[in-house]
Subunit: 362 residues, 2 copies
Amino acid sequence: ATHSLFLLPGDGIGTEIMVEVEKIIAWTNAEGLTDFSLDRGLAGGAAYDQHQTAITDEDVAKAKAADAVIFGAVGGPKWDDVPYEHRPEAALLRLRKELAVFANLRPAICYPALADASSLKRELVEGLDILIVRELTGGVYFGEPKTITDLGEGQKRAIDTQVYETYEIDRIARVAFDLARTRKNKVHSADKKNVMKSGVLWDEVVKGVAKDYSDVELHHILADNAAMQLVRTPKQFDVMVTDNLFGDILSDVAAMLTGSLGMLPSASLGAPDPTTGKRKAFYEPVHGSAPDIAGQGIANPIAMIASLAMALRYSFNMIELADKVEGAISAVLSDGLRTGDIAQDNRKTVGTEEMGAAILSK
Amino acid sequence: ATHSLFLLPGDGIGTEIMVEVEKIIAWTNAEGLTDFSLDRGLAGGAAYDQHQTAITDEDVAKAKAADAVIFGAVGGPKWDDVPYEHRPEAALLRLRKELAVFANLRPAICYPALADASSLKRELVEGLDILIVRELTGGVYFGEPKTITDLGEGQKRAIDTQVYETYEIDRIARVAFDLARTRKNKVHSADKKNVMKSGVLWDEVVKGVAKDYSDVELHHILADNAAMQLVRTPKQFDVMVTDNLFGDILSDVAAMLTGSLGMLPSASLGAPDPTTGKRKAFYEPVHGSAPDIAGQGIANPIAMIASLAMALRYSFNMIELADKVEGAISAVLSDGLRTGDIAQDNRKTVGTEEMGAAILSK
Ligand SMILES: CC(C)[C@H](C(=O)O)[C@@H](O)C(=O)O
Ligand SMILES: CC(C)[C@H](C(=O)O)[C@@H](O)C(=O)O
């Protein structure tokens, strides 16, 4: 095999939608379009149930060794009460950190066929195409101290720490500016520099990087205003770069605007290896494990399949094949096929397997 | 005078809309409906221009001595480059902290006459009435360390610290539950307990407080999901309680949904004084200083006037008069009067002064 993929389906609908990805890989391998070796691991609650930890050291090592990791989703009410350090999300956080995939690309695209599914007025979201570039390995997610201390007399003190260093901001800003050059040459940088010192440094470093990209327009926006403006007139944005916590919230808002949450993939990339030029990479749908509909065979596999397409594009430079997969998704939607989450009158509602099969047959 | 008000108009449109509040107070005083003594101070850029600081110690002392502070808005491009500790927002942060007004109530109400101004589909926001209860004196806004350190070789490290103690969460949760009892008996508590230790403590304390309010439904929601759900189906919410930073963002999203940003007031309340029962209180519009339209006499004074109404209600228990002011606002809107920000076909667009006068004459 020329390339290795490590699959971590996780929990809930993660396992169901990963099956459809496996079918596509089996087909591209059989057709000689790819030569992927596949391995599979456990993450989240699934790993906890077997190994009492959200992900084993062995699976982390396999993720690090693979050319790309394809991740489903983790979590569910079953694991609400597991100890904090073993909760399902810990798998995701550990993988992000150990793979050092600091650049999280979250496209928010409104598929024309689905514009009416948005809660926003059609004219505000039709044709929407925003790319949120979220810093993924720093900030309040990982800063120390991160503790709860018992102060006695029924009082506790909890501390989280947001830490950013210049190099972390510099490298994520460059990713955003580079991507803006392939799009509309416009970057909004969102922070709370009016309240946070990390925001002050963020803004200073981003403005410094901008000097190397005089062809790209840079706009500063406060994170609270960014959330508002996303709701008010989302099409004013092209690329938005922001920190880990604001990126978490703003990318969810952007995704929700599109009405296409079940359709949106994401890529998390590391720095290019100085000798091989290869980047560690991690692909996952934007949506979660949806425990409420898990096991019913009705989950939408499109975001998961689109995540594979992103892997083909960003990790393996298989542009044609990536286009082909994305084209198949569009074609199936144009044919009127819908899963339950995007069901419409006069359109055919199908299950996970039928949707996956339809995309494959295209 | 029986009650004292301290007015801080601030910058931009803050000064213009405060004029309309002054007219209303002059009228209620003249009619014998109130007996307010008034004093005025400078905040934000206005204070910086005169005193090289965002607010003077003297004005802070006056704010502390007053029965209620009525605040306009601060900031503008003119002060973009003043030193961090003197930036306009510092006035707001210092006042919140020194008055210890920990409970920030931000109603997001969709005025029926304005439902079409929302970017969301009418049916999703018509009749919307959410109350965001934001913790205002803790968290990452004030936690120490909050520093930028030069590491040499072009590298700096910025640190912000989110700190919450049990008592801070306990008291804001009680405010939320008490208010829910006067509404629909439903509280959503939003945090990131899957990533933040402060979220873990937040959730633990809120769940503890809930035991004293068995008549109120409590729902936990992750902050990123809360932002999404606000955009998707806002009417599922009644009261939402959350920390300072999430409250900043979520209350802005909620306000923007209503299409009535220029109409929304807010109240920030302290703990009742153990002997007098009085609470320090601070009232301000949700919108900012809008430097782009300042000085043109076109700003919407309604949020500012509604902030006065909130003061009448919460600080002075003048329920009838508060109802009267709010009724006048609704009546003027029903009559078809609009400022530019909420302009509609077939409605009359007026300036700040005319809108203020129309409300007063009601
Ligand atoms: C599951 C959770 C830890 C995660 C995050 O907060 O980053 C998720 O919300 C996301 O956006 O990928
Ligand atoms: C002006 C700024 C410091 C303030 C905040 O972040 O709290 C504002 O956004 C608000 O919500 O009142």
